[in-house]
């Protein structure tokens, strides 16, 4: 297929599709705009208010003022980083198995990965709590970590496997022909080529973990994560600092995603150039 513009062959183009697309994007941006704008609202109380009382950076300068919020945020970061690391470490070999071998039981593993992603969070949360109750494991930080790894492994597999299937195997074969053992081949060839996918998988896992409310709500015990804190606060009105944290997460997440996309694109460009020079 041509790599240039991929247009549907059609003479008349109505603008309605474009208008519709942008309209939906505008509507979906409303909560983001409201969050960013109201994080600067000079609200008279420590709850967000509908009235606009002027611009202030007070809430950003007093981020740590709300008791429990900062701690919940740090717990979420900790859970996200640790669970994402574990997920990438155990999910990458699994992706290698699924992407590089044909073996008995592969279909079942693929189905398991799919079920892990598609299963409704409410059922997974309730079932996890049932399980932890059955084995008498007290719910808390440990159970949150276990459950987050359990759903993040599947996301890691999906991302890494997709990259593996698009990867040129001939380089690995060449390394093997030149006498490299499987470990050297993995470390010197596969891993460097896979790096962007591992980073993308890690970032996705990070995002899924930081964002999870439903599953965590069941198995958190007395531990409070950021989404749990926000949910609890939402019923009585959010403190403006929640919007500040939300705004910070938004911009950090967006920056990371854009940087990752940029790295990916550069990576692809470098590879294309290398392949180009090799064929010449």
């Amino acid at each position: 297929m041509a790599t240039g513009a991929r247009h549907e062959p059609r003479d008349r183009r109505s603008p309605w599709l474009a208008i519709f697309y942008w309209l939906v994007i505008v509507v979906t941006s409303v909560p983001i705009l409201v969050m960013v704008i109201y994080s600067f609202n000079n609200a008279p109380t420590s709850r967000i208010t509908f009235a606009w009382n002027g611009f202030t950076t007070y809430w950003y300068r007093n981020l740590g003022q709300v008791s429990g919020l900062t701690h919940a945020f740090l717990v979420s970061i900790e859970v996200a980083v640790i669970s994402s690391l574990i997920s990438v470490i155990i999910g990458t070999p699994l992706s290698m198995a699924l992407g590089r071998y044909k073996f008995w039981g592969m279909g079942s593993i693929n189905a398991l990965v799919f079920a892990d992603i598609a299963a409704p969070a409410i059922v997974v949360g309730a079932a996890s709590l049932s399980f932890f109750l059955s084995i008498n494991l007290n719910t808390g930080l440990l159970t949150i970590l276990i459950a987050h790894v359990a759903f993040n492994v599947a996301y890691v597999v999906v991302v890494v496997r997709a990259r593996l299937s698009g990867m040129d195997r001939s380089i690995e074969d060449a390394a093997r022909d030149l006498g490299a053992n499987p470990f050297v081949t993995f470390y010197r060839i596969t891993l460097p080529l896979l790096w962007p996918a591992l980073l993308a998988a890690f970032l996705l896992a990070l995002a899924m973990s930081i964002d999870d409310y439903v599953i965590t709500s069941f198995i958190a015990g007395s531990t409070v994560t950021f989404p749990l804190f926000v949910y609890g606060a939402a019923k009585v009105g959010l403190p403006p600092q929640v919007l500040c944290f939300g705004t910070l997460i938004f911009f950090v997440g967006l920056t990371l995603a854009l940087a990752n996309g940029f790295l990916n694109r550069r990576h692809l460009a470098v590879r294309a150039a290398t392949e180009d020079s090799l064929t010449k």
């Binding site: 519709f20 994007i25 109201y38 309730a126 759903f151 599947a154 964002d211």
Partner: protein, 305 residues
């Protein structure tokens, strides 16, 4: 004698070769699959076990194989669980249909009307709300749509609605929230499916005098069926069980089964009831998805996510 000896020597080496040829994928999958089995699949089963226990939060629960819990939930319950189930299915179904209607044109636009270099940016825009925490972005809608919020006060100023007009607490608000939070899960698979379509097929259809509508209905739509299928699967499953949209955007009349499971487990500590409800929900979704896959199915759904 020597024969036996040689076979004895040869046997392990053959076995070892066989093992070393076939074991790598199993060794590689061990940890990942083990974790998912132990902390995802087995818990799903243990939910069934807990539902068959009887007892109370103070004394603890014992397994008594109390299958009656399942009839109690539907028939002899003070709490109308049947209504919650039906309501949740209606909300999930409506949200899924709206998602298809909104997502398809968007995915079509990105796949066919945009030059290659802008596609990833436009896809990122579809995902933009995921960069805001789920609970915050849903609560921001509650903030915007509240009775004193900007939308309703504006509508009142323009005399478009009366004093008794509300958005929050209605089924519309909950379904709207479900659509908003899941739209990307519909756009992405449909986009992937459309992107795979060989454009020469569309050209061929046009050469054979198909008009615009026929090209779409006879080629594009059937060829993107797998994408719609995957999207429906993801959106329907996640919206039927969701407790957050109905809790933050709904009211007393929009109480869903997701909230019921949460309340039974976490507030009332009726572990057996909660586990039974969640087992029923899982079985119900499994059955609906199985029938749906049989009717509209595609071969390998795993490849679509």
């Amino acid at each position: 004698m020597t024969n036996v000896a040689t076979t004895r020597v040869r046997e392990p080496s053959r076995l070892r070769r066989w093992v070393s040829r076939h074991s790598p994928p199993y060794v590689l999958s061990l940890l990942g699959v083990g974790w998912m089995l132990l902390f995802f699949l087995i818990p799903l089963g243990s939910g069934l076990i807990v539902s068959l226990e009887t007892g109370n939060p103070v004394r603890g629960y014992n397994l008594t194989w109390n299958w009656h819990i399942y009839s109690q939930i539907f028939v002899h319950s003070d709490i109308p669980y049947t209504t919650f189930f039906i309501r949740s299915l209606i909300y999930g179904g409506s949200a899924t249909i709206f998602c298809i209607l909104i997502a398809y044109p968007m995915a079509y636009f990105i796949a066919f009307r945009v030059s290659e270099r802008w596609k990833s940016s436009l896809l990122l825009l579809v995902l933009i709300s995921f960069f805001v925490s789920f609970v915050i972005r849903t609560d921001m809608w509650a903030f915007v749509l509240a009775d004193q919020g900007i939308v309703i006060t504006t509508l009142r100023h323009l005399h478009l609605v009366g004093k008794n007009f509300h958005i929050l607490g209605t089924a519309g608000a909950v379904i709207g929230g479900d659509v908003y939070n899941n739209l990307a899960f519909m756009v992405l698979p449909i986009y992937v499916a459309l992107e795979k379509i060989d454009l020469r097929i569309l050209e061929a259809a046009r050469d054979l005098y198909a008009n615009t509508r026929q090209v779409f209905l006879r080629t594009v739509l059937p060829l993107s069926r797998a994408g719609i299928f995957a999207g429906v699967l993801l959106v329907f499953i996640s919206t039927v069980g969701d407790p957050v949209n109905s809790a933050l955007l709904g009211g007393a009349n929009t109480y869903t089964i997701g909230q019921a499971i949460q309340d039974a487990y976490l507030n009332n500590q009726q572990f057996n009831v909660a586990a039974a409800l969640s087992t029923i929900l899982m079985a119900m979704l499994g059955l609906i998805m199985f029938v749906y896959a049989r009717v509209f199915g595609t071969e390998n759904i795993e490849n679509l996510v």
